[in-house]
Symmetry: C2
């Protein structure tokens, strides 16, 4: 991407009403644009980062047998009436609307009902099970108060995976596989060392659900973390009984603020009961399908990463999800010429700051603000040695690389 | 994709209320699922096809300088009040909803207002222009009657591109470039020979807009086509004046039914006026930005292609957008073994029909119904000659290929 041809510009200040660090930086660096409270557009840089997060999640969910599809935002009322969740007293984050042709609709806040109904068409026998299906889809939630930029919004992208199993045993095997997969995903996203499986309150079919919580000062949750055992307890179930059941000792626990980046639930028969999703078992007997749901919100995760991995100069993206890997600045006529040549070798990996009206100091400040992993400078001085200056955004370590060393990184 | 591990199943019949050929086949073959009238999920096969259509459009729009971003479905009322389109009498396909925090919202039916507002942040000088920005985004339209499956729905994917120019001259250069690009896109999508630039009614800033119409018996439009000149006129502007202006002769025109697959508009100052989007020109004078909009609905296009390129056995996808290129069937023990081996070489290009309980005839019927470009059969008989049977879905031409010839196609 050439900055001279990009419509976004960085800004010196963020809107006064944005209080979170991530929102300030993402707005100032041109990753997002605020339509209204809790509703943000993803500008080109933001979309690239979001898509990289999506792709990592997709690869890992595909690897455990997930089949991807895409459901709709508009959802018919009847399925939600049947499951008992249409009423605003039960689910208070509904956006509802009316059909010109008559009737009410909801904007999906989640898709348990929709997936359960879909499966009535495709599940008839135990031979059809297990089934693992997922989507990346926009959810709408009528939050009374949106906050923390893209960490808590009214419209956001969600990866929701649902499992359909013969029985609890088959379910639990997959459930534990998803736990492992989620930890791997958060590793790849660059927050593995600060993200913990966290026991939270369950439902009718399981004492606990599992959350994945990332340590974060502006997070909304309190967790009690056992660093040695790599697990945590959400405040909501922090009591002597939970400690005993999980074999944890109060003395080893650290009280931390954290932000939820994923959650998984044993749904059991909650939806197969109310929406009548059945199969014929090995003995020809009609049984309800045992379900689970598994969520990660890529846009929320992007906010949490931005929040956690920034410094006083701006964002610091992990390499795997940075919109571009290199921020290339040419200084002087020869430097600019060589920079353009290098850019042409890997335009999809490089931001070329070829702005004529920006001073070098501004360019360096923007490189830091945007959080691009490596800043690469080509000047008359470095070219005299056939080299480039190579700076690591995270560590600030600066070194000289030969042109060939840099070029070999590009391929 | 292995059919034994896929949750979708083909169906012998389509719902009685679906009248269009494309909807019947897409439902029966497991590409889509109907949530309610005019609202369809995209199942794994459908999502792959849709994504391939999206990717072709993306490549071509990127190639002419488009910058991709993603806006939101929830849209604030104020911008639409300012542009004069909030009122249901002006725009009758609104879905509106209420914020729990107070206030009304609309679900974007289109994004002219949103893009115009966004650009107020980024456009200040003629040096910032031109700007070309686009997105693939879900639109919601409260159609009184949804029909023809995914050809006319209440929720659909749209590629909408907007241009922001200094003046009409700069605008028109890009406009004509988009015309060429659209024709190239429809070529790549496999409907180039039946899709025509069609003059339709314009607005305040242009006598005509341009539609791209694909000949299609179940289309909703009537066009008058000059096959020699490769252009058409929409019925709505078919009159002596238009004929004269375009240099067309009534005698050379063919009256056809067609389905709109794209449209482009000169918006002029329609939105920059009402939403006050200005720039300082080369003389330091404040000027309004001259705008254009350019749409293609990938999900609608998928419906039109399915409608146009099917036969009495099912769908017939062009190679570039087929969800998979080969449908591989192994007959007999050795055939199945060899098929699995071949599949492992290119799982992303092949549907392996490894279902144990399906007869060969059913497998062949499903290959035809799904519209996969090439059916490949491996049996004891073909293996005796180290060959596979290779059948073209479109032409029905069948030939034998050596195993190596087929393997070389996979890489």
């Amino acid at each position: 991407m050439k900055l001279s041809q990009s419509f976004t510009k960085t800004m010196k200040t963020a809107p006064a009403d944005e209080t979170s660090v991530s929102a300030k930086y993402l707005l100032r660096a041109g990753y997002i644009y605020k339509e209204m409270a809790g509703v943000y557009d993803f500008l080109p840089l933001g979309m690239r980062t979001l898509e990289k997060i999506v792709q990592i999640i997709r690869e890992e969910i595909d690897a455990i047998g997930g089949e991807e599809l895409r459901m709709t935002g508009l959802q018919p009322k009847d399925a939600w009436v049947a499951s008992g969740r249409w009423n605003d007293d039960v689910l208070d984050v509904w956006f509802k609307t009316k059909l010109n042709a008559g009737g009410e609709l909801g904007l999906a806040t989640t898709h348990e009902e929709a997936f359960t109904r879909l499966m009535k068409t495709f599940i008839s026998s135990y031979k059809d099970l297990p089934i693992y299906v997922y989507q990346f889809q926009t959810k709408f939630r009528n939050e009374l108060r949106a906050k923390s930029g893209i960490m808590r919004t009214r419209e956001f992208l969600m990866k929701d995976l649902y499992s359909f199993s013969e029985n609890r045993e088959q379910h639990e095997e997959f459930y534990e596989l998803v736990v492992k997969t989620y930890l791997k995903i958060f590793d790849r996203l660059g927050i593995g060392d600060s993200t913990f499986r966290t026991f939270a309150s369950g439902g009718s079919f399981s004492k606990y659900s599992d959350e994945f919580q990332t340590l974060c000062d502006s997070g909304e949750d309190i967790i009690y973390l056992d660093r040695d055992k790599n697990i945590a307890i959400n405040e909501e179930v922090y009591n002597p009984e939970t400690l005993a059941q999980l074999g944890l000792n109060e003395k080893n626990l650290e009280k931390c603020k954290a932000a939820e980046v994923g959650n998984i639930f044993t749904l059991g028969y909650r939806y197969s009961d109310t929406l009548d999703l059945c199969f014929n078992d090995r003995d020809g007997k009609r049984q309800k399908v045992f379900m689970g749901s598994y969520g990660i919100g890529p846009s929320r995760v992007m906010g949490v990463i931005a929040e956690r991995l920034s410094d006083n100069k701006g964002l610091i993206w992990p390499e795997e999800i940075a919109p571009y890997k290199y921020y290339l600045v040419g200084i002087g006529e020869e430097g600019a010429k060589k920079a353009a040549e290098l850019y042409a070798k890997a335009p999809d990996n490089i931001i070329l700051d070829d702005r004529i009206n920006a001073r070098t100091g501004e360019k360096f400040a923007d490189a830091d603000l945007m959080g691009i992993p490596y800043r690469v400078v080509v000047s008359d001085k470095t070219l005299a040695e056939e080299k480039v200056e190579f700076k690591n955004r995270k560590t600030s370590e600066t070194k000289l690389l030969t042109l060939n060393e840099f070029i070999s990184k590009l391929s």
